[in-house]
Symmetry: C2
Subunit: 210 residues, 2 copies
Amino acid sequence: MKTYREYCALAQALDVVGERWTLLIVRELLIQGACRYTDLRNGLPGIATNLLAERLREMEKAGLVSREDAPPPVATTLFRLTKRGEELKPVVEALGRWGGPLVARPIADEEFRSHWLALPIELHLTDNAPHEPPITIEVRTGGEPMLVETVDGRVRARPGSSDHPNAVVSGTASQLLGLLTGKIDLAEARRRGAKFEGDPKALDRVQPRP
Amino acid sequence: MKTYREYCALAQALDVVGERWTLLIVRELLIQGACRYTDLRNGLPGIATNLLAERLREMEKAGLVSREDAPPPVATTLFRLTKRGEELKPVVEALGRWGGPLVARPIADEEFRSHWLALPIELHLTDNAPHEPPITIEVRTGGEPMLVETVDGRVRARPGSSDHPNAVVSGTASQLLGLLTGKIDLAEARRRGAKFEGDPKALDRVQPRP
DNA sequence: CAGCATCCGCTTTGATACTG
DNA sequence: CAGTATCAAAGCGGATGCTG
């Protein structure tokens, strides 16, 4: 990217992360941790492969990303955020918060990956009873299932499933997003076609209090 | 900008504000309030005039900016952030904070406008004695002077000068930035060529406490 | 198959000139 | 002052091919 050539922290930040795709690559690495090239491509529908390679090189040079060889038997390259790269989390969160209203609607003709739910979940959900025993909700939509867990008074989301979750929800991305962020209640979510099994109190536990 | 077509708040936010120049236009309007076209051009060195016009049109359509005719006798068009546009402040602050380390060095061959100091000043400075009478520091560098004031326990910065400031500092952008954000002390700033007149306690009042 | 590099057509940007 | 018009250069997207 052509630099703005301004002595201004904002402009210099944009010189580094303002190019197309860069912050979405950061999103993938924040959510998924260390990623293979192919994992990144799957999480970034529409990116041209040469652009992904170029961005990763630039981000490595800028100190945002490090490249490491996975130990045998995997023997593949892993990309990981550096400390400096992780520090972009507040930027991603601020943008995600601002963009929240833009996805408060049914999903249109857009791509979706279930692990993207991790962002709004960790942004909007809270543990309303941090001293109770932890709970787990399994969230199923589209591809891989996600686990929503209370831990240390925070709500965490990660790919995976559980043998004994307190509840299991499934539905479209917008149904689950609306339900989890408390924009709609369980009855409304069911009316719209979402499925919920297990303890409704688990949902109350993490939905943001109005 | 081509949209990412992802059902993700971050991607949708970037669809709106991710294009080149857009967040810098937001910076100008956040710092300066309502601006004429020419004011914006002056605060965005290097922008092509057709791009500025195009971005303003897009931002108006996206609901970030409104256009109003200034009352006589000025009779010019003013651009102003809408409520939705103002809500980008946390995004600009997060990026500015992340970019801070990138300008913790002498100014190189880069453009600088004194009003850009408002961002780091309001971001890093605090009123360390909110119950004392308010103070004012005049900051002179490059073009127009800036005023740094304590008000309601916060530190505010705006273009302008004062008849009886508690102190007046002048120097290069990097000297003033280093001094105000407490990265260097007064003696060091003077050693590097900055001038300071008035009450050194005014500086102590607002420099961030380590 | 994972991890790219190359090529090509299209879009966006930047610089300059010009206008009501 | 507040833009529009024009055009070259750079960036992007898509397809394809190469290498360990």
